[in-house]
């Protein structure tokens, strides 16, 4: 019982769960195609990293390590800004190409990728108009 409680101390299971969250996010990042889902996966990976940091900071006796906590706090604000920028990029991409996905690679698709991208990625009328002004 005593041994089990030691193995389940917050300083150990939270970092472990953080590592699992990171791995889970990585798995989602590789497998999903929609860019918004990929951004969610990146955020979950980030949360895993925060959990590892804070879990380790809470190890041992006494107050948790304030430097790790301050770093995490900084990280959360950076994460939300990066997410916002990434989402703005996704919207822009959708506006120009009509796609919010990573285009699948050639072996997946009958049409070679270049055919799609040449037409779709050409500056749209809207893009032109905006940059003429």
């Amino acid at each position: 019982m005593e041994w089990l409680a030691q193995q389940l101390a917050p300083g150990l299971i939270y970092p472990t769960a953080g590592a699992l969250l990171f791995a889970l996010g990585l798995y989602g990042l590789i497998r999903r195609h929609h860019l918004v889902l990929r951004i969610l996966a990146l955020n979950i990976m980030g949360s895993g990293v925060f959990m590892v940091l804070l879990g380790i900071a809470a190890r041992g006796e006494g107050a948790p390590d304030p430097v790790a906590q301050a770093l995490t706090l900084t990280g959360i604000v950076v994460a939300v800004s990066a997410t916002a920028f990434a989402l703005a990029l996704v919207v822009r991409l959708a506006r120009i190409t009509g796609q919010a996905m990573m285009l699948p690679g050639p072996p997946d698709d009958e049409a070679p990728v270049d055919d799609i991208s040449r037409e779709e990625h050409a500056p749209s009328a809207e893009y032109e108009r905006e940059h003429r002004e």
């Binding site: 939270y14 590592a19 889970l24 041992g60 939300v80 916002a84 919010a100």
Partner: protein, 331 residues
């Protein structure tokens, strides 16, 4: 007994977190994924409380769950409206039903192809396994807590996290404010302000609630800022609360709300970085070095920087939600 209860709490919470994250990343419907992600953020805030990190719990609840959730939802709404617009066509553009269908379809991501299953799973397992192994074999770190404790006297504040953020590691915080600003510049460089797609429901209820909530958010935000010098709180959390209030206002868009003019808006957006840098450079010339303060001046300087940073963070979060340069820019 209480120990056992806590262990059960930990296990249930972590299982819930992993389960929600899994369902979020596995869902084919994006709206569902976003809602699950918001739930994930709220559970995460609970985990931070359990790890004795109330500062981060505050920030996570306000930013991770609240503001990121709002950003994601408005993005889905934007993607939907782009699809509708494509289908209808615009004066200078013929309708494009194929593209519109692709995009509408894209709000439901199909299940991933089978062939990526094994490589993705094995890669994730290897990385996760390595991390867990490393974490289990790491010695109990002493951490920097004693060092911070020793120097609290010269930091100018009584809360270790604020001391680290605004004094001991002011570089990090300064650069972080710069990154937040750069993210906004990036979003602005993508195009002009484009109208929010979702119109709020008309009627008296929302304005009535806003009249109650906005003053409360202002007082609470400033209180959190004030509390940061001796208790959990500070510029980031305060900025997040005020930013959330700003996003609510933008969403409700009361007709007669004056829009912030461009120049003050830009000054406000850069106030945090600018003031931080100015004070930091003064420090360079009078002795304590770049981004250092003389101990007797530390408290007032930290408060002034924090006020500016709060303003900048709040405004930047609102601007990132709106995305795109302000409309008033061009005329």
């Amino acid at each position: 007994m209480s120990n056992l209860l806590l262990v059960i709490f930990d296990l249930v919470l972590l299982a819930g977190l992993l389960g929600v994250a899994w369902r979020c990343l596995a869902s084919t419907d994006l709206f569902r994924a976003v809602v699950l992600f918001i739930t994930f953020g709220l559970l995460l805030a609970l985990a931070w409380v359990r790890l004795e990190a109330p500062d981060i719990a505050l920030a996570e609840a306000a930013i991770g769950a609240g503001i990121t959730g709002a950003l994601l939802l408005v993005t889905l709404e934007r993607l939907r409206s782009i699809a509708v617009e494509r289908r209808r066509g615009r004066p200078d553009q013929p309708p494009d039903p194929a593209g519109a269908d692709a995009l509408l379809h894209a709000l439901h991501d199909p299940p991933p192809p089978r062939r990526t299953f094994v490589p993705a799973l094995s890669f994730a397992l290897v990385v996760g396994g390595l991390m867990v192994t490393a974490l289990w074999h790491q010695p109990d770190a002493v951490g920097l807590e004693p060092v911070v404790d020793e120097h609290m006297g010269v930091s100018g504040v009584d809360h270790p996290i604020t001391a680290v953020l605004l004094n001991f590691r002011a570089y990090d915080t300064f650069l972080e404010l710069a990154i937040v600003l750069i993210a906004l510049l990036g979003a602005w460089s993508l195009g002009r302000y484009d109208r929010l797609p979702a119109r709020p429901a008309p009627g008296p209820i929302l304005p009535g609630t806003l009249r109650l909530l906005v003053p409360v958010a202002i007082v609470t935000g400033v209180y959190i800022l004030w509390a940061g010098s001796h208790a959990p709180g500070g510029a980031f959390q305060a900025g997040a609360i005020l930013g959330a209030a700003g996003i609510l206002l933008v969403l409700a868009r009361p007709r007669d709300l004056p829009m912030a003019p461009s120049t003050p808006l830009r000054l406000g957006l850069t106030a945090g970085v600018g003031l931080f840098l100015a004070i930091g450079i003064v420090g360079l010339f009078i002795g304590p070095g770049l981004l250092g303060y003389p101990p007797e001046w530390a408290y007032p300087l930290i408060i002034v920087i924090e006020i500016a940073a709060t303003l900048s963070i709040a405004l930047t979060l609102v601007a990132l939600f709106i995305a795109g340069r302000p409309a008033g820019d061009d005329h």
